[in-house]
């Protein structure tokens, strides 16, 4: 445990709240630029087909229409697109902002109409007629790999988007050969999506004289947005300014600009007029990126005491037609993280990702999380086959403090994780043993009660291009502090937590700090807010910059006070000789001297009270948690009621516990939504059926259980001791809930391995 500081460790109320609560946030749809036009897309209503022609004449004739652009007009002069994180040579779907020779999913953008108002833009879009000759859709991932399958991307020659071959080992073969028990099961996860309350959107403005592009975007990463604009348009990055204001959630969807955003940017340059595009909800559900549709077959070899001796994994991912980023596969991350919180001596992990004529996959909170979804359900299934309680089976296999440091079968090194502690804390908080007694008694009365656990290890992703972030801390002439960061906070509360870190280490008052982010013209380079990186990488940069500025301020004060720096202390935005409060020089006084009164300063006293630092993090920092849920299943309607929900987590030193709990809660409800309510459905012909909020069901306050928290605080080895935790809530909640539901159904001999576990699906299992 780390003792809380003046600011770090406190549930400080958020700086961003007053403007957001009073309607004074500035989201992208609030941006109005003089002369601005509005874009709308014409989209394919056919899942797969040859585009014989696009008749735009009637649309062009509509008053107010500035342009109707098809691929033929928009594409010439555009350069290849690739994401920094994936690299230039990574496997990816072909890049084309608009469909040209063919359409590859329902929603595929065919044309872009650019009009005086969004109302008329939608009128014009209706008037565009696409002549499409249907081709067979590609929907089933297994069939898509067959010889006779129609090809989603004919230029690639195969529907196989990516492949991770199994890497077996003699140890693994031996483990299976000598196992007391081998259990194999295939788990299916269905298609659901990020669904931020603010859809995607941007305003793009091209200055033809200066050849400069300005984009106001709803993004999780302004610099990546800029990089991609630079690549596609062939522009130097400094000529592009990407500005993010407030952003209404992302969850991965806004990490990378997708085809529509790129099309709008290309259109604004071509037309020389500012263009706004605000995705509507129908488009967002139809084509804004989907996630999670995949299956995983897990074979576990165990000895007679239930110790895991080896695991084989095969994953099959449906990445749709145009996944973002790269080929949409999460297998590489999944293969590294799969062993999670358990001692698994030998592992093989094979995966195939498959293109289909559906909306492409995008990143979604814990994109690789199928490893936890399948692993944790497998633990419960194995426990049932062994006749052992799932808690006991986890106790026998979980990594304990004595095991550390621990290197997993996939090569991950854990130094400061605490899965065993969170397992015990969650079990205690939910009253595991008492619930088992209650459950037994209630089963006698015919009630179906169940309890489920799920453990996981969550990586903060700071590998490769995600490994650094920057912060500038500047003492302004009035003694106040500007904190300028490369972050892209869009709900994560960084405006508050980064200021807490700076106030703590600089020694200023929190209220003196103003936080600035989200303008590539002015802020340090940042790899974007996502991947549970911020508490590790961004906070590292904020801390480092604050300490460096503090040192400068102390050096300046030492020169002024004619004291040794080591005799000085900094507190409440002032520097003075320790034990002599009367000597304290307020930051405002020192700033005044540095900026304006420098002639009076001794030689060598620093006057540059502005520091920019970049923090370089290790590739992974691991947090961990255990989720525990209790449920009741109504055997008549199939409805699942969540009775209690507990999360015990260890994200190291919490910068702001209130914010940590808020992140957990949001993630948990997304997982609950996924298992019980949300389902992006395609019919057998490839038509999406759930493209409004009447059919795509997000959980509401009435469906949300009260979430209870337990904290274990094991400091990481990083300065500051933090670990990232933004995604975990959404990773472990699906299997915790699935395990609880299956535990409830156990007396009926039913074990569900497919999501969603909707009332109708549960009833279908009950009534074969």
């Amino acid at each position: 445990m780390t003792v809380a500081g003046r600011y770090v460790g406190q549930s400080v109320r958020r700086q961003e709240d007053p403007r957001l609560l009073t309607g004074h946030g500035r989201y992208v749809d609030d941006i109005v630029v003089p002369g601005m036009l509005h874009a709308a897309f014409v989209r394919s209503s056919v899942p797969h087909g040859l585009l014989r022609g696009v008749d735009t004449e009637a649309a062009r004739a509509l008053p107010g229409v500035a342009a109707v652009l098809t691929a033929a007009e928009l594409h010439p002069g555009l350069h290849p697109m690739w994401q920094t994180m994936m690299g230039q040579d990574a496997p990816a779907a072909p890049f084309r902002p608009l469909a040209d020779a063919d359409v590859r999913y329902v929603g595929d953008p065919i044309a872009l109409v650019v009009v005086e108002s969004r109302y008329i833009a939608e009128d014009a879009a209706e008037l565009v007629v696409a002549d499409i000759e249907p081709l067979p859709p590609v929907l089933d991932t297994s069939a898509a790999l067959g010889d006779t399958a129609s090809l989603v991307h004919p230029e690639l020659g195969s529907n196989l988007a990516g492949e991770l071959p199994a890497a077996g080992s003699p140890e693994l073969d031996a483990a299976f050969a000598s196992a007391a028990l081998v259990a194999t099961e295939t788990f299916h996860q269905h298609r659901y999506a990020c669904v931020p309350m603010e859809t995607r959107g941007l305003v793009a403005q091209w200055d033809p004289a200066g050849e400069q592009l300005t984009v106001w975007a709803a993004t999780q990463g302004p610099h990546e947005f800029r990089a991609i604009c630079g690549r596609v348009l062939g522009l130097p990055e400094p000529r592009i300014r990407v500005i993010m204001g407030d952003v209404g959630g992302g969850f991965g969807q806004k990490m990378f600009p997708m085809r529509e955003e790129i099309a709008v940017v290309a259109a604004t340059r071509q037309l020389g007029r500012p263009v706004k595009w605000i995705e509507d909800r129908n488009e967002n559900l139809l084509g804004g990126g989907h996630a999670r549709e995949e299956q995983m077959t897990v074979s576990v070899a165990a000895d007679d005491a239930g110790h895991f001796t080896g695991v084989r994994v095969e994953q099959l991912e449906n990445v749709g037609a145009y996944p973002f980023p790269g080929n949409g596969s999460t297998a590489m991350a999944g293969s590294m993280i799969f062993p999670g919180p358990y001692r698994i001596p030998a592992l093989s992990y094979a995966a195939r990702a498959v293109y289909t004529t559906t909306c492409g996959r995008c990143a979604y909170r814990g994109p690789w999380m199928m490893e936890t979804v399948a692993r944790e359900q497998m633990v419960d299934l194995l426990a049932r086959r062994l006749g052992m309680d799932p808690l006991e089976l986890r106790r026998r296999n979980v990594i304990t403090a004595e095991d550390l440091p621990f290197t997993t079968a996939s090569g991950m090194v854990y130094e400061t994780v605490s899965p065993a502690q969170t397992l015990e804390q969650a079990a205690e908080l939910i009253g595991y043993d008492a619930f088992r007694r209650e459950q037994a008694a209630e089963r006698e009365r015919g009630r179906l009660l169940g309890i489920g656990l799920a453990l996981y290890i969550e990586p903060s992703q700071s590998f490769g291009p995600l490994g650094t972030d920057g912060a500038t801390v500047r003492l302004e002439p009035d003694g106040r502090v500007a904190l300028v960061m490369g972050t892209a906070s869009h709900g994560q509360s960084l405006e508050t937590t980064m200021a807490q870190v700076v106030a703590e280490h600089l020694g200023c008052d929190l209220g003196d700090i103003t936080f600035v982010q989200g303008d590539t013209a002015y802020v340090p380079y940042g790899a974007g807010t996502g991947g549970s990186r911020s508490a590790v990488v961004a906070a590292g940069a904020a801390r480092q910059a604050a300490l460096a500025l503090r040192e400068r301020i102390v050096t300046l004060a030492a020169a002024v006070l004619e004291a040794a720096p080591s005799d000085l202390e900094v507190a409440s935005s002032a520097v003075g000789v320790r034990g002599d409060p009367a000597s304290a020089l307020p930051f405002a006084k020192l700033a005044g001297l540095a900026y304006f009164g420098h002639a009076a300063l001794p030689e060598g006293a620093p006057v540059a009270l502005e520091v920019t630092e970049r923090f370089k993090a290790p590739p992974f920092t691991f947090s961990n948690a255990c989720h525990a849920a209790t449920v009741e299943v109504d055997a008549t309607t199939g409805q699942v009621s969540i009775l209690r929900y507990v999360v015990s987590e260890d994200c190291g030193v919490m910068i702001n516990p209130m914010v940590v709990e808020g992140q957990i809660a949001g993630g948990v409800l997304q997982g609950i939504g996924g298992v019980l309510y949300e389902h992006m459905v395609y019919d057998g012909d490839g038509n999406p059926l759930t493209t409004t909020f009447l059919d795509y069901l997000l959980p509401t306050a009435a469906e949300a259980p009260a979430i209870e928290y337990g904290h274990v605080e094991t400091a990481s080895r990083l300065p500051g001791g933090a670990k990232g935790m933004g995604e975990g809530g959404a990773i472990a909640s699906p299997p915790a809930l699935a395990n609880a539901i299956n535990d409830a159904l156990a007396p009926l001999g039913i074990h569900l391995t497919r999501q969603p576990m909707s009332p109708a699906a549960i009833v279908a299992a009950l009534t074969p």
Binding site: R118, E122, T637, G638, V681, A702
Partner: protein
């Protein structure tokens, strides 16, 4: 997601509304509270060249109680009907159904008449109207006419209103005596249209026998249904002898529920059995014990 253009008409009287509808024929649509029509227009699944807004016809907003019936003006917003003391006292089934409609923000705009004219088979007010044998009053160019609820709803989103007719009021009969009323429905989330639901009114007579019973079903067909066979089986039975699950099975036996992403027909029937049984149980309880 913006509606296609239309001409807007805001008549001040029913006669003026009827004239406007007659003038534009199939090109005209009536706008009541807009809570169902406007989303469809935004999605461009519905469009109208002429939209006739009844919102300013003050004469269509009222609740009037008489000895044996209660009249509710068609443009009475659902929230107002839901807190109206006359409705609460004389047509409790309606008062209890209203909280199931969407969310309170929707009930602040949605109207009693609009819900019926929209004729969603999963909607609550149409089910109550059919169950209580309400009469719906329509005004066209001819004389106003009263349409029995059973004949008003003809199919999904379809009614027996003529194109130039405006629904002006609903007349709900008052059930006297030792009566009980209940609404039970199952929806995926709070406020969603029901996967299946039942509304029930029952009157007990001598010897705790069921003197009169009406069971309505929503979400189980193209229109709100009456469970006639179930009602016949229950009528005359002593409340204590009633097998409510059996009545529930009878209620859904001849239904042909819709199939969609949320539920199969078989699932809807299964839930319908339970909802009918639970509604009947609750209504009987109230009739017996007040």
């Amino acid at each position: 997601m913006k509606a296609a253009p239309f001409c807007y008409h805001r008549p001040g009287t029913v006669a003026e509304a009827v004239e406007t509808l007659a003038a534009f024929g199939d090109g005209a649509k009536v706008l009541a509270g807009g809570q169902s029509l406007v989303p469809l227009m935004a999605l461009r699944l519905a469009r109208a060249e002429h939209l006739v807004d009844l919102g300013r016809i003050a004469a269509l907003r009222y609740v009037r109680g008489a000895a044996d019936s209660v009249a509710v003006g068609a443009m009475t917003v659902q929230a107002a009907a839901g807190r109206d003391p006359v409705i609460a006292a004389s047509v409790p089934l309606l008062a209890r159904a209203i909280p199931f409609i969407g969310h309170f923000q929707v009930r602040n705009r949605g109207t009693v008449g609009g819900s019926c004219a929209h004729a969603d088979p999963s909607a609550e007010i149409p089910a109550v109207a059919v169950t209580l044998d309400a009469e719906l009053e329509a005004s066209g160019r001819g004389r106003p006419r009263l349409i029995p609820a059973a004949k008003f709803f003809t199919s999904t989103f379809t009614t027996s209103l003529e194109p130039d007719e405006v629904l002006t009021a609903l007349h709900f009969p008052v059930w006297p005596g030792r009566s009980g009323f209940a609404v039970r429905e199952f929806a995926r989330r709070r406020g969603d249209f029901a996967v299946a639901g039942a509304v029930c009114a029952v009157t007990l007579g001598q010897g705790e026998r069921i003197e009169r019973v009406a069971i309505g079903l929503l979400g189980l067909g193209a229109v709100p249904l009456r469970a006639a066979a179930a009602e016949r089986a229950a009528t005359g039975t002593a409340a204590g002898d009633l097998d409510v699950t059996e009545i529930g099975h009878l209620a859904v036996a001849d239904t042909d529920p819709p199939d969609d992403v949320h539920a199969t027909p078989g699932y809807r029937r299964r839930v319908g059995v339970a909802m009918a049984a639970r509604a009947l149980t609750a209504a009987l309880e109230e009739a017996a014990h007040g």
